[in-house]
Amino acid sequence: MIRHPDILSGTVLAVAGAAVLSASLQIDVVQLDRGLDAAFFPALCGGVLAAIGAVIAIKGLFAARTRLPFVADGRVAAVAGLFLLYFFTFTLVDFRVGAWAMLLVSMLALGARGVKELVIVPVAVAACIYLLFRYGLQISVPEWI
């Protein structure tokens, strides 16, 4: 069991920073007569991030024992899963259908139980947003028809 969340986050940052530093050093740079090449700045940022991540992790080692922070319960996991599904299928589904389905399923997942609300709100809100984007703002959205 990790004794402090900063140990975990700091370690992740240190590893990420080191990865950025390593990747930067492998960038196929054009050698310039003067000035800094394209790898310098990301390598600098990666190196400093790795160092700061290490500092955060070490501070966590000496801090009082603390539980890992709350990340997700059933509700948050359900919402995150719905978001992932909706966003990754956004361009594949007609916007009107997708927005209606997203609203209906999300409202159910988040605790809405009124029948009238579940029937009216998804249809009305999806229609309003579609009309706003499509005709009000002249912004195209995915459509089947």
Partner: protein
């Protein structure tokens, strides 16, 4: 050399005075108020979601909508702060201290009315200062070299890292993450591809608006999904109130109002800091200067006046560094940078010189937005409380849908939409572990400025790294950064992320 001419004023007045200009400004104020008042959605998230809607517009209507939302959003966060002790944005946390107590004492309508009026006064004073200061500062900024710009960008980055969370180390780490993200794409000097992973869509870099929507919109929605689904707005019986009762209130508190507006404007001018610090500094100053009989923390009107005047005064102040040196004054102006870049306009030292009419438009629009907010806010203050009652189970999916549609509006491809949710989930995890979002955003915006000016500064000075410490203005700015960080750390962190 005068940077602004009479023709610039006429153009701006003609654009702003057109029916479409006025309508979009009003719609922006209303949209900002709705986003600001809705608990769980901040003004920054609102602007990030609204910004893609402006991509099909010309400069004037686009800016009218965004500046209206900017102005309305910062005020409207005071509504949930006063009614349910839940600040709509971190900038309204100080308002909640006395505002909620006023509501509990039966003076909710008075508190909300004061918040509107104070916000308008603060905003208008800051716009006047913007109009007089920015052109003069731009003339000075034209003489800056890459060395000075590098130091100013560092100042902005360090300042926002220091104030945005409970840990300076985590704030700096967040800023570095933003700067690393800013290196994605083609290097402008050598045309080398960096971290594109063969994605054609990344050749131009991480798109700013989708990144903002993910970092501010999605993270807040996921956070809100965990919180209570029911918002209790039950208040005791409210005492009758008419607006003219506020006249003596403002007469006896006029100096606090002016002082708070000046504090907000000055804090707004400092790059990267934002309204949360402004409202706390102003509130703290009001408490420090309190007299016997003042009841700060128990529903004292001075608490609401000090906090709300300062946080809206940031709007004009934060636009100063944006339009003179191209550095955002707060995370919201980072959104404005994205919108300006999409219009083909590069904010920075040449902005006022090359686009005088657009500068005049911006400060006139900000001023008029504050006037509209005053009338719309006072007229609709009894309706705004219903926004606070919007159920979370409706609000969350609606904002998610708007976010996805907004991301799609950038390029009509799935890439930006997918990026929003990936960045959003990553940002949510960062927030859970105590890493703030604001420095990431500022890092993305300032990263290219820092890199470009670091390279140019070194090339122009024979690769001498000490030039940043030997040139007096640069040294002064770096020392100011150290002093600012020390001052802010001593006053207490945890403004944006009190947990």
């Amino acid at each position: 050399m005068d940077l602004i001419s009479g023709a610039d004023f006429w153009w701006a007045i003609e654009q702003l005075g057109s029916p479409m200009g006025l309508l979009l400004l009003a719609l922006g104020v209303i949209a900002g108020m709705i986003f600001g008042a809705a608990p769980g959605v901040t003004a920054t998230a609102g602007l990030a979601v609204i910004a893609p809607a402006t991509f099909s517009m010309e400069f004037a209507p686009s800016m009218a909508l965004l500046l209206g939302a900017y102005t309305g959003g910062y005020f409207a966060g005071s509504i949930p702060a006063i009614l349910i002790n839940t600040p709509g944005t971190p900038a309204n946390a100080a308002t909640a201290i006395d505002g909620y107590k006023m509501a509990r004492n039966g003076h909710a309508d008075q508190a909300v009315s004061m918040a509107v009026i104070c916000s308008a006064i603060g905003g208008l004073i800051s716009v006047v200062i913007l109009a007089t200061l920015a052109p003069n500062l731009a003339k000075v900024a034209l003489k800056f070299t890459s060395v000075e710009y590098f130091s100013l960008a560092i100042l902005g980055l360090v300042a926002v890292a220091a104030v945005s969370g409970a840990s300076l180390w985590k704030g700096v780490a967040a800023a570095l993450i933003g700067m690393i993200l800013s290196t994605v794409g083609i290097d402008e000097v050598s045309a080398t591809q960096r971290f594109t992973f063969d994605f054609v869509e990344l050749l131009g870099g991480v798109p700013l608006i989708p990144a903002l929507i993910g970092m501010f919109g999605i993270t807040e929605l996921l956070t809100k999904a965990h919180e209570s689904r029911h918002v209790s707005t039950a208040l005791p019986e409210q005492k009758p109130f008419v607006l003219r009762d506020l006249v003596p209130v403002y007469m006896r508190n006029k100096w606090i109002t002016v002082k708070s507006a000046l504090i907000g404007t000055v804090v707004g001018i400092l790059p990267g800091i934002g309204p949360a610090i402004a409202s706390w500094v102003s509130y703290g100053e009001a408490v420090r200067a309190s007299k016997p009989g003042d009841r700060f923390g128990e529903g004292d009107e001075k608490g609401v006046i000090a906090a709300e005047t300062a946080n809206n005064a940031v709007t004009g102040g934060a636009t100063v560094p944006l339009l003179t040196i191209g550095i955002p004054g707060d995370p919201v102006t980072a959104v404005l940078i994205g919108a300006l870049l999409f219009q083909g306009i590069d904010p920075g030292p040449f902005f006022i010189r090359d686009n005088g009419e657009k500068f005049v438009f911006i400060f006139l629009a900000l001023g008029l937005a504050n006037v509209m907010m005053l009338f719309l806010g006072l007229g609709s203050r009894r309706l705004l409380r219903y926004i606070v009652r919007i159920p979370t189970y409706t609000l969350i999916p609606v904002v998610a849908i708007l976010s996805a549609a907004g991301g799609y509006a950038v390029n009509a491809t799935a890439f930006e939409v997918n990026m929003i949710i990936v960045i959003g989930i990553f940002g949510y995890l960062m927030l859970r572990f105590g890493y703030p979002m604001a420095p990431v955003v500022i890092g993305i915006v300032l990263g290219p400025i820092i890199e470009e000016n670091l390279r140019n500064g070194l090339v122009a000075n024979d690769m001498d790294p000490f030039v940043f410490f030997t040139r007096p203005i640069s040294l002064g700015v770096l020392i100011a950064a150290v002093i600012l960080v020390t001052f802010l750390l001593r006053r207490g962190r945890g403004i944006e992320n009190p947990s």
